[in-house]
């Protein structure tokens, strides 16, 4: 039996991103491993603009390798888990107490909405 498609539509993704304020921002460490942090963000002109404190190791990692993944997740209950993962290249703002990391919403976006598992079959 084919698995049900529980991904979000582009409109659902836009609404989900607009309704949330906190993201996980991940980068590749210079040692080859990975690292991540949590940051506030806003949706602006088709891009996620996250704000990280100056000196955050994720900023250093993104300056060395600008490939980034930003994930926004809601977990009010298991049946209501929703998440959007955005992959792209980061543009890093100038140094300030909070440094902006901007990631355009490109084609490499993955999403899921567990509530769609409970919908009747189409």
């Amino acid at each position: 039996m084919p698995r049900r498609d529980i991904s979000m539509s582009p409109d659902e993704i836009d609404a989900f991103l607009a309704a949330n304020r906190e993201a996980v921002v991940a980068a590749t460490h210079v040692d080859g491993g990975t690292l991540a942090t949590v940051a506030g963000y806003e949706l602006r002109d088709g891009a996620i603009a996250a704000r990280l404190p100056a000196g955050d190791p994720v900023l250093d990692a993104l300056r060395a390798d600008d490939r980034v993944c930003v994930t926004i997740e809601q977990f009010p209950s298991y049946a209501e888990i929703r998440a959007v993962m955005v992959h792209g290249r980061a543009t890093i703002g100038s140094d300030a107490p909070l440094v902006e990391v901007v990631v355009p919403l490109g084609p490499d976006v993955v999403s899921f909405d567990f509530a769609k598992q409970a919908l009747p079959a189409e």
């Binding site: 304020r21 991940a26 980068a27 990975t34 949590v38 404190p53």
Partner: protein
């Protein structure tokens, strides 16, 4: 608790199951998997399908990390970054784990735990275990929760 992980960090790992697994894709770029984590013997574990992309990626690049937070709405706003090496375990090496899903995790319905256990028994699922090499509470600026 390992020498690399302090007591507070170890206690936080034990107390919280909201986890974001951060692994490298085939081209080396990072990706994130929201998971329900299980603390066991100083490490963090999660279960998944053996044929999933995340298992392929972890086997190819085992140096990974996990970001652990308290559940949504918690007063505990700390964020723990655990970095280390991942190992993929088969069910035969995971005695005592109910399908790799934390049986005490209130977030996971009983039928999901049972289904995961059955899939584990049939070898369809496996466990990704992260052996911490470091665990650090991050300095983060988080938005205040909605009133």
């Amino acid at each position: 608790m390992t020498d690399e992980v302090g007591a507070d960090e170890d206690a936080f790992m034990q107390a919280n199951s909201r986890m974001f697994l951060v692994v490298a894709r085939g081209d080396g770029s990072p990706t994130i998997y929201p998971m329900v984590g299980l603390y066991r013997d100083g490490g963090v574990e999660c279960s998944t399908y053996r044929k999933s992309a995340k298992v392929t990626r972890v086997l190819r690049a085992p140096q990974i990390s996990a970001l652990i937070t308290a559940a949504e709405g918690s007063d505990d706003r700390r964020v723990l970054l655990v970095r280390g090496r991942a190992v993929v375990h088969s069910p035969s090496t995971m005695a005592g784990v109910a399908g790799g899903v934390n049986p005490s995790a209130k977030e996971v319905p009983a039928e999901v735990v049972a289904r995961a256990a059955a899939a584990m028994e049939s070898q369809k699922r496996c466990v990704i275990r992260l052996e911490p090499e470091s665990a650090t509470f991050l300095h983060v600026v988080r938005p205040e929760p909605e009133a």
